[in-house]
């Protein structure tokens, strides 16, 4: 496989600045996400990781340049950091996954082809048989896996995950790892992921960018071993201490 630093960039960000009420949430951030890699954004709370994702998804105004160099479908899959479900909303898992899978309105029924695709997607994230369960009664971990299934359909060229391991148990994290590693092996999907989970990052990442409103440091996953980078990740350090 091509080394991450040498592979062509799918996503190029140059001098990206995002301001809110004159305060810079991101200040002249430049980075490149190489094709076919798992690129992880880390940093303390308020470092601008989710803001950077929102800018990439064109959900907020910014200064600077973001360029996508699509080679295939140009499809983006996205798992947001938060997804609030109205507890009385009668939308099932299958309804939700069918929203982007079929043209027919889901309220008029789910097509046979969509049903089969949904069953495959749910099996892929370890949730077989949950089609008829309302979104509102899913646990936090199940909901995140349903969101992951949604992000994987259609097979994305760029998969953006914002803290995907939050609320996941060990078995679910293993499934996520397998999906990320399979994406890497296929070379078709590039992953940009925000994470505080150092152990998972070590297992799957090719490249790490530590943000603190600007790029503090970046490099191969080995940089996580350096004392300098650990100092920049207070949240991760606290989490590890709490677990111990």
């Amino acid at each position: 496989m091509t080394e991450p630093a040498e592979a062509p960039a799918l996503l190029e960000i140059d001098r990206l600045t995002v301001r809110r009420h004159r305060e810079a949430l991101l200040d002249e951030v430049s980075l490149r996400v190489r094709r076919g890699t798992v690129h992880v954004l880390m940093g303390p709370n308020g470092a601008g990781k989710s803001t950077l994702i929102a800018a990439i998804l064109a959900q907020l105004a910014f200064d600077g340049r973001i360029a996508m160099n699509w080679a295939e479908t140009g499809a983006i899959g996205y798992v947001p950091q938060s997804f609030a479900v109205d507890p009385t909303l009668p939308v099932t898992v299958a309804d939700f996954l069918a929203l982007t899978r079929q043209r027919r309105p889901v309220c008029l029924g789910i097509t046979r082809g969509a049903k089969a695709a949904i069953a495959r997607l749910l099996a892929r994230v370890g949730l077989s048989g949950l089609e008829r369960r309302p979104l509102a009664v899913l646990s936090g971990g199940e909901l995140r896996r349903v969101l992951l299934a949604h992000a994987l359909d259609p097979e994305p060229e760029l998969l953006i995950l914002d803290e995907p391991t939050a609320g996941l148990d060990d078995a679910a994290v293993a499934i996520l790892d397998e999906i990320l590693l399979a994406s890497k092996r296929s070379g078709k999907t590039t992953v940009l992921m925000v994470s505080h989970d150092l152990e998972q990052v070590r297992r799957v990442a090719d490249w790490v960018t530590v943000l603190d409103r600007r790029v503090a440091v970046e490099g191969p996953v080995d940089i996580l071993a350096t004392a300098h980078v650990r100092e920049l990740l207070p949240a991760a350090r606290e989490r590890r201490a709490a677990r111990a």
């Binding site: 947001p80 909303l89 939308v91």
Partner: protein
């Protein structure tokens, strides 16, 4: 249509249909309910999902102002659609634009529009009483089957088909946008377009329903059917079917009550739909208790 009404009347006289169907205005009213139920039921389940109940209430108030404006500008008393649609459209565009560009919470901004249109409407209604007897505009405020014409029915049908076609086209994006605007945006939907699009569909649906339901009560039929269906629905399909069925039962029930007891149609329909809502609420509580 006269031959059709005569044929239905004949069936009613022979006892094949209820005796009320001898009267063309009741047949027309029933047909209106048949068309209104899928329109309002279909729209209502998205209104509730997209949390636009207060927006609908403000549109109903804007319709009163629109009617007054239309009549003052010389529109006929039995079809003040120009003023009504024009002013509702302006209010809709204004509310959506301000909601998208201001930093205040949406309900606060809609409250401002609600108060503004109501105040303007009251002033115009007072001016209107110099030209018309206020009882003549009662049908627009509370709804009346006596004033519904074949032209109104044809307009209702045409708008119903248009709304259904447009809703079918954008339904999945609208629902995904209600659940998560960022996910809808990633899926290729344009949130601003969807917001204006649905607000315009809602405006159209409300304007054509006003002669039957009335401006003061129309919000009930774009909110309560979905609220009732939501109490018992288990998926989007049963949610839609439930909303349509509740809107139809409320419409037909309200129609029957209003002709028997000579009360305004809109009021009777709202009482019927509210009764259905509390019934479904009770069903939900019972099924939950049994499930525990």
């Amino acid at each position: 249509m006269t031959a059709f009404y005569a044929w239905i009347g004949g069936l009613a006289q022979r006892g094949v249909l209820p005796s009320d169907f001898q009267y063309p205005f009741l047949v027309r009213g029933f047909l209106c309910v048949l068309v209104l139920a899928p329109i309002l039921g279909g729209v209502s389940h998205l209104v509730v999902t997209r949390r636009m109940a207060f927006f609908s209430a403000a549109l109903g108030q804007a319709a009163i102002t629109g009617v007054a404006l239309g009549l003052l500008l010389g529109e006929p008393l039995n079809a003040p659609y120009g003023g009504m649609f024009g002013f509702c459209l302006l209010s809709t565009l204004g509310m959506v634009y301000v909601k998208r560009h201001a930093t205040l919470p949406p309900d606060t901004l809609i409250g401002v529009f609600h108060a503004l249109t109501l105040g303007l409407g009251l002033c115009l209604l007072v001016a209107l009483t110099r030209q018309f007897n206020v009882h003549q505009v009662e049908s627009v405020l509370f709804g009346s089957l006596l004033t519904v014409t074949d032209g109104d029915l044809a307009l209702l049908l045409a708008v119903g088909i248009l709304v259904a076609v447009l809703l079918i086209r954008e339904y999945n994006h609208l629902l995904l946008d209600s659940l998560s605007p960022p996910l809808a945006s990633v899926a290729g939907a344009e949130p601003a377009y969807l917001e204006y699009f649905f607000a315009l569909l809602l405006t159209l649906s409300i304007v054509v329903s006003l002669k039957i339901i009335g401006a003061l009560l129309v919000e009930a039929l774009v909110v309560v059917p979905a609220a009732a269906a939501r109490n018992v629905a288990r998926g989007t399909r049963s949610y839609l079917i439930g909303s349509v069925v509740v809107a139809f039962l409320a419409g037909a029930g309200g129609l029957g009550v209003s002709t028997r007891f000579l009360v305004p149609t809109g009021g009777a329909v709202v009482l019927a739909v509210s009764a259905i809502f509390f019934l479904t609420l009770a069903v939900r509580s019972l099924t939950r208790r049994n499930a525990v």
